[in-house]
Amino acid sequence: MKKVIYLDNAATTRTAPEVVDAMLPYFTEYYGNASTIYELGGSSKKAMNEARETIAGILGAQENEIYFTAGGSESDNWALKATAEAYRAKGNHIITSKIEHHAVLHTCEYLEKNGFEVTYVDVDENGKIKLGELEKAIRPTTILISVMFANNEIGTIQPIREIGEIAHKHGILFHTDAVQAFGQLPINVDEYHIDMLSASGHKLNGPKGIGFLYIRKGVKIRSFIHGGAQERKRRAGTENIPGIVGFGVAAKRAAETMQERTAKEIALRDHLIDRVLKEVPYTRLNGDRTDRLPNNANFSFQFIEGESMLIMLDMEGICGSSGSACTSGSLDPSHVLLAIGLPHEIAHGSLRLTLSEETTLEDIDFVVDTIKGIVGRLRDMSPLYEDFVKKQAAK
C-alpha cells in the first residue's frame, strides 16, 4: 500500500490506539447501562464519571457542568436553540460571526425563521472578529453571543477573553464553539468568561459520535433531546459509555501532551507555510499568521481549482481539504474565505492542510514538493492562468 500522508486532521483524526484500548472493555465486558443499580452498571457509571472529571478539570469547570452529547453539531444546536427558548422572555436577539461553522450558522438561520434576530458580525482580512462591531451590535434584547474559539478552515483564533468580557459586561450569555480548539489550546472557562462551550471527540484523536456541551451552573437552558433522566435530566438517551470513556482518555492525552505536541506542530506548520509561500508563486496564506491553530495551514493558489488539486494530491497519497465549491455539497465556495474578503475565483483555489502529532518533516517536504508540481500542472491547464500570463507578457 502507498504511504498515506493524512493532513486533514481538522476534518477528523485517527482514533489513538490507546483510546480504542480503553474503550474496548466497555463494549463486551462492562456493557451495563449506567443508570441501573446492579454492579455491571456501576462500572459504566464510574468510568463515565472519570471522563467527566477529566474534561471538567481541563476546562477549570465543575464535573456537573459537563453534559455529553453525540458531537459538536448537537452541542452547538443545543446551546443555541435551548438558550433561545429559555431566554425568549428576555429578548430575541443573538450575535454571532460570519465565519462560524454551519452547525452554528444554519441553526441561527433556523432561529431566524422562528422569530429570532441574528447579527452576523464581520471579520477582518485575517479572520478576526471586529470587536467594535460586536459591541455595537448589542441591543437590550440580546440574549446570546456565540463566537467560535478557533476557525476550522483558516485556523484563526478569536480574542475569546475579550468577547467574554464584552458579553458579561452587558449581562449576555457567551457560547463558544471550541470544537477545533479543545485539546489544542489551553482553555479556562472562568478566565475566558465562557458560559457554554461545545467540543467533539473525534477532533482530538477520540472517537466519532461523542461530544459535550459545557453549561455553566445557573444557565437555565433545558433539554434539547427529551426523554430519560440521563445527564442530570438534561440530555436523554442511553449513555454511550465506550464513546465517553474514549473521549475522556483522548482529552487527558491531548491535555498532557499539548505543550510539546503543539510546539512540534507549530514548527512543522511554519516550515510548511514558509516553503509554500516562498516556492509557489501567486499564493497567499489565509488566516492569521500567528493567532492560528498549531496544526493549520490554509493557502489560496491563484488560477486553479481546489477539487482538482485534492484529487491529484490524493493520487500521491496526500489527504487535504479545500474550501472549493466543488468539494462541498453546496456549490458555493467557503463562506469563511468569502468573509475574509477573497474573491470567488481565489477562494476556489484554496487548500487546507491540518497536521497531527504523527506528521514528520519528511512528510511536509514531500507535500511541498508535490504541491509545486501539481500547481504547475493545473496552471498549465487553466485558462485564467493563460489570460494572466498573456496580460503580463503584453505589459
Binding site: 443499580i37 456501576g42 429559555a86 445557573g218 444557565v219 437555565k220 433545558r222 435530566k233 438534561r234
Partner: protein, 147 residues
C-alpha cells in the same frame, strides 16, 4: 451507589421483625415514593428502650436506615431516642445518595410514631414530641435546579 455500611445493613438488617404486645408501634408511609415502615418499641418502667424491631416495605436505603435507626435507639431513654434524627441515621451510614435522602425520614418518623403510640397508651406527654403525620412530605432532596 450505596456506601458499604448501607449495603451491610441492607444485607444483614439488625432488629428486623415484630414485638408482640409492644409498648409502642408506629407505622409511617412516605408519600413521595409510597414506601412504608413500621417500628416496634419495648420500653421499660424507667423509660428505657429495651428492645426495638422494624419492618419495612421500601428501597435499599429505607431498609438500611430502619436497621441503623433501631441500633441507634436501642438502650436509650425516650429523650435520647428523640435525638435520633434522619441526619444522625444518615451520618451513621456514611451518607446516602441525594435521591435517597427522603428515605431516611421514614426511620425518624417511624420512631416518633412509635413513641407517640407509647405515650397515648400510657397517657403521658413526651416533651418535644409532635404528633407524627402518617404521610411524610418533607425531605425533598436537592432536585436539579429548575432552571
Amino acid at each position: 451507589m450505596y456506601s458499604e455500611k448501607v449495603m451491610d445493613h441492607f444485607q444483614h438488617p439488625r432488629n428486623m421483625g415484630e414485638i408482640e404486645d409492644a409498648s409502642g408501634v408506629g407505622t409511617v408511609g412516605n408519600a413521595k415514593c409510597g414506601d412504608i415502615m413500621r417500628m416496634y418499641l419495648d420500653i421499660d418502667d424507667d423509660g428505657i428502650i429495651q428492645d426495638v424491631k422494624f419492618k419495612t416495605f421500601g428501597c435499599g436505603a429505607a431498609v438500611a436506615t430502619s436497621s441503623m435507626a433501631t441500633e441507634l435507639v436501642k438502650g436509650k431513654n425516650i429523650q435520647e431516642a428523640l435525638q435520633v434524627t434522619n441526619k444522625a441515621v444518615m451520618e451513621a451510614l456514611d451518607g446516602l445518595p441525594p435521591v435517597k435522602v427522603h428515605c431516611s425520614l421514614l426511620a425518624e418518623e417511624a420512631i416518633h410514631a412509635a413513641l407517640w403510640d407509647y405515650a397515648e397508651k400510657h397517657g403521658i406527654k413526651i416533651e418535644g414530641l409532635k404528633k407524627p403525620k402518617s404521610d411524610i412530605h418533607e425531605g425533598e432532596e436537592d432536585e436539579e435546579e429548575e432552571y
